[in-house]
């Protein structure tokens, strides 16, 4: 459980500190989701069983989130020419 929380925090830190590509931000989001999936597995090993059903829901929704993130990546590379975070207009 602690390992999973550590992975999650590393991914969160990476999300906060990534300054080059949007793709790496999306990868960090996906890493957070996968660490949550891992944590649900760990919780269900140690006694409870309904987290396994939650894990399916989590997997489905993280896939939806990743796909909409990739769609936004395509949109931003079409409108800005690249997915560099520097090209954003941080007004």
């Amino acid at each position: 459980m602690l390992i999973m929380i550590l992975i999650f925090l590393i991914a969160l830190l990476g999300l906060g500190l990534s300054q080059t590509h949007l793709l790496s931000v999306l990868l960090c989001l996906e890493m957070m989701m996968v660490s949550l999936y891992l944590g649900l597995g760990m919780v269900s090993i140690s006694g409870l069983h309904y987290p396994l059903m939650i894990a399916l829901v989590l997997l489905t929704f993280s896939a939806c989130e990743a796909s909409s993130g990739l769609a936004l990546l395509v949109l931003i590379s079409r409108s800005h020419g690249s997915d560099l975070l520097k090209s954003f207009n941080l007004s």
Binding site: L29, M33, L40, C64, S68, L72, L75, S91
Partner: protein
């Protein structure tokens, strides 16, 4: 994008709120929040302009991160259920994580930075949906979470966001940013109302929606992002300028208008519950925010546009749509409502 697909997204957004408010388990709350976010993203990028796409990317990243933290909090409190001695501590940490994630999703004060940037990039209509309807899922979670452990922290967030909403809008000349800061300030009141009693929060939210949707639609018709453009757009439309000015004064909560009614309702309740310090801070924040409301309404009502000739304007031929006349009547109703409510038996 095909317009026939838009009912799908709006129905999903409505269903997400129903899912949250009818469930007591955190997984379904997470599901509802995710559904609401994912269904709102195609509406945000409807016109595919580059600013919109950027704003949507910012919105998406913040919301996805907050959703992940929400799930982590739920799982920490879940794993605390069978870990023996540290049960209570884990449960508290999990509740705190969930609350911080929901506060980030709503855009309350210490986590409000994304709201201003996102609203600045959007058109007025998606911005209005973002500032009104998208608050509902988060508020529905907060009203279920507001137990005695968290309520003092939520009160603190509410007070800080009333102050920040007032201070942040002081130097702004962009209409969308002004509206975003005004929404942050109102959200502070709303959260304190939700902590004090969920029905009060609901009524204040209804009032904010009723007041701000006509303003957003008038600004959408005028289609100006800057205060100067606003004045130019209002040049041949004196009726609309009066309505806009009165609407902004009402949103700021000046006494003769409708916006005062909600603030009065909340304040009487807070003073009854002896939340005196909270109400003083909220009033101070609103007083600061009244400065920029007054500036906008001064610009709308008092100042003339460049080369404006009043004689050419025919006041009789102004078209008063149902929306605007409704706004005018509503704004004038405020004092009657206050009088009627104060006559009610305690």
């Amino acid at each position: 994008m095909s317009p026939y697909i838009s009912p799908l997204f709006s129905i999903t957004m409505i269903m997400s709120v129903m899912l949250i408010s009818s469930s007591g388990h955190w997984v379904f709350m997470w599901l509802g929040l995710e559904l609401g976010t994912l269904a709102f993203i195609p509406i945000l990028v409807w016109w595919h302009s580059s600013l919109e796409v950027e704003a949507t990317v910012k919105y998406f990243i913040v919301q996805a991160m907050a959703a992940a933290v929400f799930f982590l909090g739920g799982m920490v409190s879940l794993s605390g259920d069978f870990m023996g001695g540290v049960n209570q501590l884990m449960g508290n940490i999990g509740d705190m994580m969930i609350m911080l994630a929901v506060v980030t999703k709503l855009g309350l004060a210490p986590f409000h930075y994304w709201v201003v940037d996102v609203v600045q990039g959007l058109n007025y209509i998606p911005g209005a949906v973002l500032l009104t309807w998208q608050k509902v899922p988060g508020l529905a979670v907060l009203t279920q979470l507001a137990t005695c452990n968290n309520s003092s922290m939520l009160l603190l967030f509410g007070m800080v966001s009333a102050l920040v909403g007032g201070l942040g809008g002081l130097g702004q000349t962009q209409m969308r940013k002004l509206l975003a800061f005004s929404s942050i300030s109102h959200l502070g009141w709303l959260v304190v109302g939700c902590v004090a009693g969920s029905l009060l929060g609901l009524s204040y939210f209804t009032l904010y929606v009723v007041l701000s949707i006509p303003l957003f639609s008038i600004l959408h018709m005028l289609n100006g992002g800057h205060l100067n453009q606003l004045r130019t757009g209002l040049m041949f439309n004196p009726l609309m300028s009066v309505l806009l000015g009165v609407g902004f004064l009402s949103l700021g909560g000046l006494p003769p208008f409708f916006g005062f009614f909600g603030k009065w309702l909340l304040l009487t309740h807070f003073v009854g519950q002896l939340l005196l310090g909270v109400s003083v801070v909220l009033i101070t924040g609103t007083l600061i925010s009244l400065f920029y409301y007054l500036r906008v309404s001064y610009l709308c009502i008092v100042v003339l546009g460049p080369q404006q000739i009043m004689s050419g304007l025919n006041w009789r031929k102004m078209q008063l749509s149902g929306l605007m006349s409704g706004l005018l009547v509503l704004n004038m109703l405020g004092l009657f409502l206050v009088g009627g409510a104060s006559c009610l038996p305690k």
